[in-house]
Symmetry: C2
Subunit: 239 residues, 2 copies
């Protein structure tokens, strides 16, 4: 937690927040703050700044907060990911949030096992919690939107073409001859398949919708590795 | 397992191997092979090719193997990482192996907790197992070397300068003004700190040894995310 992300319900006055639960435990046992210490804070979907610990008990911390800086820039990226295996999903979600992706679509694919969609990590609360952890890591405040599409064909035929409008659209596909581009200077949409990849039919449908199939070299990457490798390749993280 | 990595002890003849344990279980329960099926194989530190399943029982599989291709290119990178938290360490190690890093140094740092060095994941067998998993993911065969240095100062003063010779040497340090370079056309050495970063003293010592401090932008990344982001930025993964 490189920043405590603050939600509306945390505010008791415009410049006061009360923290409990996970964030309180982290302040006490990891950061080991005391009264008078200052920590980085951010208002969800707003600015970042500083919080001074006013009171600290076993059940809550009260902080005086002030916000004076913009959060890091948003990635101009629409990320379309075949639903990952649940044990990998939380980390993928946190990594997407840490890297600044704000527009995330979880889609079905032939090699997505039906059971993946049953994971409790897809509940609204769990999505928000894991996105929050990823934002706090990056000192970001802008909450990503996650959309779930459990039917591949209607999504790709009816929604995807409009989503790709004005963007450089790519599908990561180890079987193709075109290397993934670098350093885009325009918004992008990126489709990442499941373990084992999209099927040829699915790649064909994504191409029909406007995606270009690109590869990342001879190495096959797990989704959780492919996401940072692709984002780092497409955009300049140092902005 | 996108490739079964074969060790000397697996060979019963120059063109025959016997698989048991994890690789057998994966063949049966994930890839679901039968007699006559072919799977990608690779000889450790050698070439990749194909293995045909000759016999398959609950306790072993026998394969006829032939090797006809070079493994993916090696990254010209020396990776020097402050020992990560054990729960993260296995994934970091697998990711390094998947991405093609072959020269990995695990070093101490002020913010590395002493207990991290006690993890059983540092045993020779566990290192080999996790590096193997990373190589099998990437269809690579070249086993990385991992060296452990539990004392920061002797390593940085006595060993590091020679290690950096002929390389572009970098230390990832969020506090600096120089952005991390891209697309190096020379060998590199890259130092990555622990959670919370190297201390100013440590960054100073790394700079004295020949490293340039560079940042990756306003976002603070976990080690497991920083490794793929940095490698993707420094080298062209599509070669």
């Amino acid at each position: 937690m490189n920043l405590a992300l603050l939600f509306e319900e945390d505010f008791t006055r415009p410049d006061r927040v009360r923290l409990t639960g996970r964030r309180l435990a982290h302040l006490q046992s990891v950061i080991k703050v005391g009264v008078g210490d200052c920590i980085p804070v951010g208002r969800v979907n707003g600015r970042i700044g500083t919080g001074e610990i006013l009171t600290l008990t076993d059940s809550e911390a009260e902080l005086a907060v002030a916000f004076d800086q913009a959060p890091p820039p948003v990635l101009p990226l629409t990320l379309i990911i075949a639903m990952p295996r649940p044990k990998m999903f939380r980390r993928v979600l946190q990594t997407c949030a840490t890297l600044g992706a704000k527009d995330i679509w979880l889609i079905n694919s032939y090699k997505v096992e039906k059971s993946f969609w049953q994971t409790p990590w897809l509940s609204d609360d769990n999505l928000r919690e894991n996105l929050t952890l990823g934002l706090e890591q990056a000192r970001d405040t802008i909450m990503p939107e996650v959309r779930i599409r459990k039917l591949f064909k209607p999504f790709v035929e009816d929604e995807l073409p409009a989503l790709l409008s004005g963007k450089r659209a790519l599908v990561a596909h180890p079987g193709t001859n075109t290397p993934c581009p670098t350093h885009l200077n325009q918004p992008a949409a990126l489709c990442i398949g499941p373990e084992g990849g999209f099927t040829p039919y699915e790649v064909g449908k994504l191409e029909e919708a406007g995606c270009e199939a690109v590869h990342l070299g001879p190495r096959i990457l797990r989704v959780e590795t492919a996401v940072p490798v692709l984002i780092s390749r497409l955009f300049d993280a140092c902005r």
